[in-house]
């Protein structure tokens, strides 16, 4: 099997997680793209950790309001019924368990549900921003990542990088499949069309078991 990275599969599959009424935080980057694939009959609300609920799409060119940006500092819009608040309230919402899901990018995720995404010692140190609070606080944590980076699997037995949070990841969605984290192992729940459980297991240096309900899914 040939592997061609495909971020859109990740975004498309994650977009199917939600039901109407869910409150969701999407990290900057790949997770942001999830918003493009949410079915039109599912009405969720997006939380932006810089201080509002009801995050809408980017404005048209020329209509930017620089007082209204997302957590990446880029102009966005707010939907009718949205609400602004300060950073203490924004993280009270996060830490207090008021978010149904958070979707985050990862540098590494391991079979214990540990996640690393804020620091490569001596090299890249972007900082954790809101990620530590989001992983600890949200009801369900979805790690969104290409399965491989430069040929290396992002799913590992044990993270080698400094952790963002310990044992908080519930789901991992890659461009190959959907995993849950249970009892110290990845459990393959879905493999995406064009891939196979065998390919995933062979190329992932982590303990993976195949769920009895595991199925092929087209995304």
């Amino acid at each position: 099997m040939d592997y061609t990275p495909d971020k859109s599969k990740i975004a498309k599959r994650i977009a199917r997680f939600f039901k109407s009424g869910d409150i969701v935080n999407l990290g900057i980057g790949l997770p942001t793209e999830v918003a493009n694939y949410i079915p039109s009959d599912v009405i969720i609300s997006l939380h932006s950790e810089n201080g509002f609920l009801g995050l809408g799409p980017a404005p048209k060119a020329g209509e930017e309001d620089w007082d209204l940006v997302n957590a990446g500092g880029m102009p966005v819009t707010i939907l009718p019924g949205g609400a602004f608040f300060d950073s203490a309230m924004s993280f009270a919402i996060i830490r207090g368990g008021h978010l149904d899901y958070t979707v985050l990018g990862v540098l590494e995720v391991d079979q214990l549900g540990n996640l690393a995404n804020y620091k490569v010692p001596g090299k890249l140190i972007p900082g954790m921003g809101g990620a530590m609070d989001l992983t600890v606080g949200a009801k369900k944590v979805i790690a969104a990542t290409l399965h491989f980076d430069k040929g290396q699997s992002k799913l590992v037995k044990r993270c080698s990088l400094p952790l963002t949070a310990k044992g908080e990841v519930d789901y991992v969605v890659t461009d190959l499949g959907l995993f849950t984290v249970e009892d110290g192992k990845f459990v393959l729940q879905e493999y995406f069309k064009g891939c196979s459980p065998e390919f995933i297991i062979e190329n992932t240096p982590a303990d993976i078991i195949i769920s009895p309900n595991c199925k092929e899914v087209e995304v």
Partner: protein, 224 residues
């Protein structure tokens, strides 16, 4: 945003049952949801725990009765957690005669305990109450030579709140000093029932003016 259920006070309080822990917004009755209190009183639910700043005003000589006082008088609570009970002499009587367990908490500590519950904090350290009876049974933590009490979060099953205005998604605006404990209680209860003087369409409240965002509101009740 999706709309929240809108129902009568009578319907809304049906989910409250014996043993429920309820938080009630308001300060001396100002900002307390009267329709909800009346409906709950009529329902007759007993053995509840009340978390409220005070037990409001009960002065039979002046026929004055506000806020949660009707529920206190009818002995609906097995336990009352409040900062002040001095303006409702019936609470003091029940306390002194061991009919009702009353826990007094400094008002600022009460506010922070409720906020901590809503904000996912394991507790907060306050200097308030050090060297008084309030410190009994609590962990004292010394920081930089100063003593603080470790106060734990305070959760409820239900919050009964009063808003000036709610949109159908549950965004809330409070009026003047009727705001008090309402916004923080909205964060700290599993089910949040809001009595609103005015219910408007989604989009009619300026997002900068929202005082409690829609995600906390479970049910909206129009004022009768």
């Amino acid at each position: 945003m999706i709309d929240k259920p809108i129902m009568s006070a009578k319907e809304a309080v049906k989910m409250i049952s014996a043993g429920s822990i309820i938080m009630v917004g308001g300060f001396m009755g100002c900002g307390t949801p009267k329709s909800l209190i009346d409906a709950l009183n009529e329902q007759g639910t007993r053995d509840m725990t009340l978390i409220c700043n005070d037990t409001a005003i009960y002065n039979p000589d002046k026929s004055l009765i506000t806020g949660v006082a009707p529920l206190v008088i009818n002995k609906r609570f097995k336990r009352i957690i409040a900062s002040h009970i001095g303006t409702n002499r019936e609470t003091g009587r029940q306390m002194n005669e061991n009919e009702t367990e009353v826990t007094l908490i400094p008002q600022g500590t009460l506010a922070e305990k409720i906020r901590a519950a809503g904000a996912g904090l394991g507790g907060i350290l306050t200097p308030t109450g050090v060297g008084t009876e309030v410190e009994e049974g609590k962990q004292i933590i010394e920081i930089g030579g100063k003593k603080y009490l470790l106060e734990l979060p305070l959760f409820a099953d239900f919050a009964l709140l009063k808003a000036k205005k709610a949109d159908k998604a549950g965004n809330l605006v409070f009026s003047r000093s009727a705001r008090n404990f309402n916004p923080i209680m909205a964060m700290a209860a599993r089910t949040v029932i809001v009595e609103a003087e005015q219910i408007v369409e989604v989009g009619e409240i300026n997002p900068d003016s929202v005082m409690s965002p829609f995600i906390f509101t479970s049910i909206i009740v129009p004022v009768k």
